[in-house]
């Protein structure tokens, strides 16, 4: 492999269009439950016959109560396509029907019904190229983290020139420092890779000595962080519906091509209940 090429391990799900099998419900086994923040957990799952996924896709999870009542919610896959196990990061909504069970009750060894991977629209892989602009509000960081993890793996053996061909920037809005998912991993990724920049904005409370942004994402912040529209970055925006719509509108106002701005609205609360 010459020094100028990207190393992209073909995800098992392959990006070649094909007659895809109907997405079936499967029984996954919980391997680990990792605490991300006081209210968020990452579930690491073994899924039998998992066909592989693309960064940005999600799964549907279904819970069945003893009386047969079923509740179903969607969760973005946090893990890179290159990982053997899939990871879902779930934020607990106190009055939620599904999330409290996933964050507080599930233990290693428990089973979970899920189907996927779902959604071929909100996906990115290194072969699509950059620049890559990711904008996250709250738990909207989850599918974007899958993209960053995939990017890190794909570029691990790449030359500096190849890395500079796929530069990435993340703008991540959270209420407080304690609500930021994957804090250490993001810091490490940015530290190890000069072609990745991570900007945080905290909207409710900042720790002492904070030098990052401290307000809701607005047009001025986007103009500062984003590439000029002429660079035609691939943009992915994910989080609560109001944030996603405001950010997408602002990017289009700044001149970005709407066809390059992909959105994944999580709904009013920004998390699955």
């Amino acid at each position: 492999m010459s020094s100028g090429t990207l190393v992209t391990r073909e995800p098992r799900g392959s990006s070649v269009p094909s007659r895809a099998p109907k997405i079936a419900w499967r029984l996954a086994t919980v391997v680990d439950v990792v605490t991300e923040t006081p209210r968020a957990r990452t579930l690491v799952l073994d899924v039998p016959d998992w066909p592989g996924h693309r960064a940005g896709q999600h799964v549907d999870v279904r819970l069945t109560a003893d009386d047969g009542y079923q509740a179903q919610r969607s969760f973005s896959i946090a893990s890179a396509p290159e990982d053997v196990r899939i990871a879902l990061t779930v934020q607990r909504l106190d009055d939620g029907e599904v999330s409290p069970h996933l964050t507080d009750v599930l233990r290693a060894g428990d089973r979970l019904e899920l189907r996927g991977p779902i959604g071929g629209y909100f996906v990115w892989e290194a072969a699509l190229g950059g620049p890559l602009l990711l904008v996250a509000g709250g738990s909207g960081i989850v599918p974007l983290m899958a993209m960053l993890r995939h990017r890190a793996t794909a570029l691990v053996a790449a030359s500096m020139q190849a890395r500079h061909g796929v530069p990435a920037r993340l703008l991540y809005s959270a209420r407080r420092w304690d609500d930021v998912f994957y804090r250490r991993e993001l810091a490490r990724l940015a530290e190890d890779d000069e072609t990745l920049e991570v900007a945080l904005t905290l909207t409710h409370e900042v720790p002492a000595g904070w030098t990052g942004f401290r307000r809701l994402i607005d047009r001025m912040m986007l103009a500062e962080v984003a590439w000029p529209p002429a660079e035609r970055p691939h943009v992915f925006v994910c989080g609560p519906t109001p944030l996603v719509e405001a950010v997408a509108a602002a990017l289009v106002e700044l001149g970005h091509d709407p066809e390059l701005v992909k959105t994944e609205r999580f709904g009013p609360t920004g998390g699955s209940a």
């Binding site: 094909s18 519906t241 719509e245 959105t263 709904g267």
Partner: protein
């Protein structure tokens, strides 16, 4: 007939737009669409029967309610697809889409 449908649709639109923050993207309907269509529909390009706008399904607006899912054109707000589920059936009203173009599903060949 079409005028009546559109007026009824407008009334429903008023109700649904009251809950604008519940608006989601086409991806949110991908799960239920996978029960109806074999190829991934989120990358399919749909033509709005009302205004002619062509967008990827993933870029359409999804309003999901307990009984079903309504998919609207982001340009004119008209309903493109309506999916509802009862205990025994899945209902699909595709009349809001004049065309849906899906990539890559090769015809099965017999050689």
């Amino acid at each position: 007939m079409k005028g009546d449908d559109m007026r009824a649709s407008d009334e429903r639109a008023a109700d649904e737009r009251a809950d604008e923050t519940l608006r989601l993207d086409g991806n949110a309907a991908a799960g239920i669409l996978s029960e109806v269509f074999v190829p991934d529909l989120t990358t399919a390009r749909a033509t709005c029967a009302n205004c002619g706008t062509i967008r990827a399904m993933g870029a359409l607006l999804v309003y999901a309610h307990g009984m079903g899912t309504v998919i609207r054109c982001p340009a004119c707000g008209a309903v493109v697809l309506r999916i509802a589920r009862t205990r025994t059936h899945l209902w699909l009203d595709p009349t809001g889409a004049s065309l849906v173009v899906m990539a890559g599903a090769p015809a099965s060949s017999v050689t």
